[in-house]
């Protein structure tokens, strides 16, 4: 069929659609989700440590190492994971299964090369013992592998398996940590890190085994996915900017006068970091609602619209479907915003009741309050980015994620200069600025969606025998004819 082309047909076909959408959704959830799952693990271990009266410094070293490994492994893999998501979804759709496994090896090698180099430089400067450094480094590299494997399994829509592997790994880590502390002579950060390494190792082994069991056939195109870096550089940048921006306000505080340094290696800023963590817990409801609402009412309208385009609808039918889709989308977004604001306010109330008991000081509570609102803006913003990607508005998504990283950096720096009363306001303002711009862009894009749907694709597909090739043949045929 000539016309709208491969992308939309793929979107419309259930197989491709679910792969792509779920993949986008979950790969992004994976960028936020692990933050929650893994911090729960750290908290659990911390509680055990407290209960077993472990040395405070050792506890701090352990915590800082784990947090650093988590954050930086995520930032390193973020951009790649979005591109690889797209690549794997396409390969699945094209039934080119043998390309998938080699691309995993390829992407792991690239991320380890980049991330590994950065990690070595970072640890080389540190005055930790080599054992500790090695254990930290292992953790960080393993996490890089783990995030990438997770992307592959999300593309396979096998969330249950991911969840099980994670839970298993987390439980093993916790149990091992407990065991290390109770029975061994390694009552130190090193012992805990080794236990963690073991747990994560179990996770990545399991995930790899799952992936391998899916793709029996394989070839040697390890770096075939790199063509997608050319094809969709925006995807890489969108997720990289977004993920970096999630943490950049913390990084800025790590370099402020309030920062604490552990074993001359890890800087952090408990006054700011701890409230950040709790504030972000408040947005879990929005993620759940988003998944649910997208799976139901909006998806139907979305599908209707594109199926009319590819399935021979006339323009008034298409316009009609477009209006329906728009209406439902805004209803869902509004609905989600209303529900989430309720949860965020609840979060603030609960935070103000319980956080002081956990030892947070007055300044941290203030920061928490503003960051809950910031996180609110941020999650709605993330959802609009996802919607932009649904509609293949990659350029729009890139623009708004760039706005997010730039404003977040600038505003956070300003808030530091302005003093205590402004801490957290930088992130808050940045999240809302980005949100407003992304909503405006989405609204504009939706108004013109017919135009974008038809005109955002290349005029001629080189890969396929489209109408254009027929036309060329037609003229070729004229040429062969004697007049």
């Amino acid at each position: 069929m000539a016309g709208i082309g491969f992308e939309l047909k793929k979107l419309f076909s259930k197989e491709g659609f679910f792969n792509l959408i779920k993949a986008y959704l979950y790969s992004t959830l994976v960028t936020v989700g692990p933050f929650i799952l893994c911090t729960s693990m750290i908290i659990t271990i911390q509680i055990i440590l407290k209960y077993l009266n472990m040395d405070f410094l050792e506890r701090e070293i352990f915590l800082a190492t784990v947090v650093y490994a988590f954050i930086f492994s995520q930032i390193i893999t973020s951009g790649f994971s979005m591109v690889i998501t797209r690549y794997v979804a396409d390969r699945l759709y094209e039934k080119e299964f043998e390309e998938i496994l080699p691309s995993l090896y390829g992407i792991i090698s690239i991320c380890i090369a980049i991330g590994g180099a950065i990690g070595i430089i970072f640890l080389y400067r540190s005055s930790m013992g080599w054992k500790l450094a090695l254990a930290s480094y292992l953790l960080y590299i393993q996490l890089i592998i783990m995030w990438l494997e997770t992307v592959y399994l999300t593309a396979l829509k096998d969330y249950i398996k991911i969840f099980k592997s994670y839970v298993l790994g987390v439980i093993i880590s916790i149990v091992l940590s407990y065991w290390v502390l109770k029975t061994s002579n390694y009552k130190s950060a090193l012992g805990l890190l080794m236990a963690m390494d073991m747990g994560i190792f179990i996770i990545i082994t399991f995930l790899m085994a799952y992936i391998k069991s899916f793709f029996k056939s394989t070839n040697n195109t390890y770096y075939g996915f790199l063509t997608y870096m050319d094809k969709y550089p925006e995807l890489f940048l969108v997720n990289f900017f977004y993920t970096l921006s999630l943490y950049i306000h913390n990084f800025i505080f790590w370099n402020s006068h309030m920062s604490v340094t552990i074993v001359d290696t890890y800087k952090y800023c408990p006054t700011y970091d701890v409230p950040t963590f709790y504030a972000f817990l408040s947005i879990i409801p929005a993620m759940v609602i988003f998944v649910v609402s997208v799976e139901t009412s909006f998806y139907n309208k979305y599908r209707e619209y594109y199926s009319l385009i590819t399935g021979g609808g006339n323009l008034s039918e298409i316009e009609n479907a477009k209006n329906n889709m728009e209406r439902v989308l805004w209803e869902e977004v509004r609905n989600l915003m209303e529900v989430q604001i309720f949860f965020s306010l609840i979060g603030i109330i609960l935070g103000n009741i319980f956080l002081p008991r956990l030892g947070l000081n007055h300044l941290s509570i203030d920061i928490f309050n503003i960051l809950v609102l910031g996180a609110y803006g941020n999650i709605i913003f993330l959802i609009t980015i996802l919607l932009q990607l649904y509609f293949e508005d990659r350029i729009g998504a890139l623009v708004v994620s760039s706005v997010f990283i730039i404003t977040n950096t600038l505003f956070t720096l300003d808030s530091l200069k302005l003093g205590e009363n402004f801490y957290g306001l930088g992130f808050f303002l940045s999240a809302f600025t980005s949100l407003i711009i992304s909503l405006m862009r989405l609204a504009y894009f939706l108004d013109n969606i017919n135009y974008y749907t038809f005109c955002s694709q290349p005029i001629i597909y080189r890969e396929r025998e489209g109408i254009f090739h027929k036309i060329l043949k037609f003229f070729g045929h004229i040429n062969e004819k004697e007049k």
Partner: protein
Amino acid sequence: MKICLIAEGSYPHVAGGVSSWTQSLIENIKEHEFIIYAIGAESKNRGVYKYKLSSNMAHIEEVFLDEILDLKGFYGKKFKITGQVKDNIKSLIVGQPVDFNILFDFFHNGKIDNLMDFFMSKDMFNIIKEAYEEEYNLIPFNNFFWAVRSMIIPLFFLIKVKVPEADIYHSVSTGYGGIIGSLANYIYNKPFILTEHGIYTREREEEIIKSNWIEGYFKDMWIKFFYNLSNCAYDKADKIISLSEKNKHIQAEIGCNMEKIYVIPNGIDVSKFSHIPGKDPKDKYINIGAVLRIVPIKDVKTMIMAFYMVKEQIDNAKFYLMGPTDEDEEYYEECRSLVENLNLGDTIFTGRINIKEYLGKMDILVLSSISESQPLAILEGFACRRPFVTTDVGSCRELIYGKDHYGQGGFVVPVMNYEKLAYEIIKLCKNKDLRGKMGANGYNRVLNLYTFNKFIESYKDIYNGFGM
């Protein structure tokens, strides 16, 4: 003077009637310099010429439609586009009359630096949308959108290309070639001559109707589009040259101003055929020949069926099909098996041969094409004093019956009617005197009206008429 010849899908990349015609025109008008503006389909043919370039060829400008595939654009750009331009593009889509000067100006005044940007712009989208709403609002929009795009891209692409400068522009067809001529005429304000060998629009129309890749409801759109292109050339050309009276009338019917049309038929050098070997006196056969490429448009099967009927009555008839068999292998095989199935003896496919060695051996010549413009084969046959039986296509009727006093050079029968074809061949087989008489009539006609010199002189006059 510098003369820019505009060829579409023919010279110098593709061998054939129009191309040979172009080559001999250039070779025989040495006092002028020629530039070729060649529109081809595939860029792999760039620099691959089927003809030896004449010494007075200054330059060949080659444009290939598949270069469109390499164009890159970006959506979302905005263009300041006047209502006039909008209406004209819309008219182009829905097949209303178009003022091409508006479009020429729009693409050449520098506002459009990247064609694809414009093509992917919202302005263009809205034009397509409005055209749809006016004329096509019940058909699938997606199909319409892509059909329109593919239809007008090659045109806009060609309009964007810079035309080389010359003193006279001479297009050897309407269609895209005619558009380039009109464009040059608009930009440089130089005379534009149009020679039409066949009737371009009619040929396209037939192809479109037969084509299986254009959906039914778009065929009309495409046909109107090509009519629009031709009308542009008819409108802008200073002189229009037709090969025959018949074509002249068809052009006028399509919308060309009769006053501008001149008839200059093709010509051949009769002396080249004066010393060719004749028929062997011992040859007891009546030789019936056809000079042709074995391709469907020549309708070889009808000819074979006619031969079969001739053979039933004329036992000593022998059939020669003279010409290349490799252009459409499949069709050639079909013809071969038809001969076999009919048990038709004395039928020879000669393959590629030198015509001059064979023509003299023939008694009767046949042409059964479905479509022709002005077949050189008839002129050559007449030059050898051989009678012709042809189908009623192109200017065959004019050549055989003439609008002059030279008399009949053979017979004309309806297309695809092998019974009538056989009937006339048999009539000639049975009557040697009639063969001689008709052959002589044809010879006199060619000698007086269709000589090569006459053809060349006519063109020289036209060129010089526009001179200083």
